[in-house]
Symmetry: C2
Subunit: 203 residues, 2 copies
């Protein structure tokens, strides 16, 4: 039996998608969390100065989306052919693009620059992306790709609370089909059981 360890901040952030996938699949893993103040000690020992890190039988790998895709394969939540996997990968990377745009606002240390990004983000970027995602979810009948449950749905369900936190908005407020996507994931008993017991964190 493989020993699997998933190392990340004590936060949902970029880590929760993989945790949800492992929990869905019933795959045991060490939920290795560190506090913000310990990050400077850990950072130099990571492959590119970033987390999450996945360790399987002593081998390590970085990059949140790459790790989530690996977890999704173990969970059998990938597409049934190359084209389906392209559709899934594309929407996952688009969620990442959207996240980066919100992060570029939220984490900007210069107050004037941050202020200048507010209008474009809240009046253009967020309505544009949420409108498009909602269309995709409607077309796929409550899923984000290929009309059935895949890890693309986990990519949204595992990130939406973080995105709401850093945008300061309820992003799904006017998006009934995206709410359905999230609910299709969070109502799965194994996922729900994890959400009930997981550490309560701010982001």
């Amino acid at each position: 039996m493989s020993e699997i360890k998933f190392t990340y901040f004590n936060a949902r952030g970029l880590g929760e998608v993989t945790r949800l996938l492992f929990k869905y699949a019933g795959i045991d893993f060490i939920d290795d969390r560190f506090e913000d103040e310990d990050w400077p000690k850990i950072k130099p020992n990571t492959p590119f100065g970033q987390t999450p890190i996945l360790t399987v039988n002593g081998k390590t790998a970085n990059q949140s989306t790459a790790i989530a895709r690996y977890a999704a394969k173990q969970a059998k939540l990938v597409g049934s052919n190359d084209w389906e996997n392209l559709e899934i990968d594309a929407i996952v990377d688009t969620i990442n693009d959207f996240r980066i745009k919100i992060q570029q606002y939220y984490y900007e240390p210069d107050a004037a620059i941050k202020e200048s990004r507010k209008g474009p983000l809240f009046q253009e970027t967020i309505p544009f992306y949420m409108g498009k995602f909602e269309e995709v979810a409607k077309k796929n009948d409550g899923y984000l790709a290929v009309g059935k449950l895949t890890w693309a749905d986990f990519a949204l369900a595992g990130t939406i609370e973080y995105l709401n936190h850093i945008s300061g908005k309820d992003l799904l407020e006017k998006c009934p089909n995206l709410k359905k996507v999230v609910q299709n994931v969070t109502s799965i008993p194994a996922v729900k059981a994890w959400i009930d017991v997981r550490p309560k964190t701010e982001d």
Copy 2:
């Protein structure tokens, strides 16, 4: 026989990785290029306002990396198991992270903000990433992942000229192992033949 069309700017940019992969595999595709001035007309008809777009038998998909991964599967340049594919995906996404950091400098319209990013980018970010990539290439004996030719090598070889262009530097200057990665791709006859005849573009 599938009809494959790859739509992107008349540039290497985020499109050349996929073109190199299709050429390597001997897969026929329509190299559909548009000029910058036509982009405003094309943009509203793309899934999320972005290119490249891949069209196969009338179905379309977006996201450069997702498309390149699809092309890599057709080219049989992926890993031989899930862990190998995780290693490949991780280094590809890390190249993307690095690209985004250079783009955030190059495309910044505000001159003062752009200037403030110069020091961190050229004195910290670029030396850090290039040093790490060089280590990875050395460890993998002239490849970027799993010690053999994969699409991770194409991800670098197809992007390096664009990265040099937007950074204004010869990024591989002091990186003999990364030069080997690029040469391992560009010396393949089918790839070399394409490079010799492809449209000459600035970026």
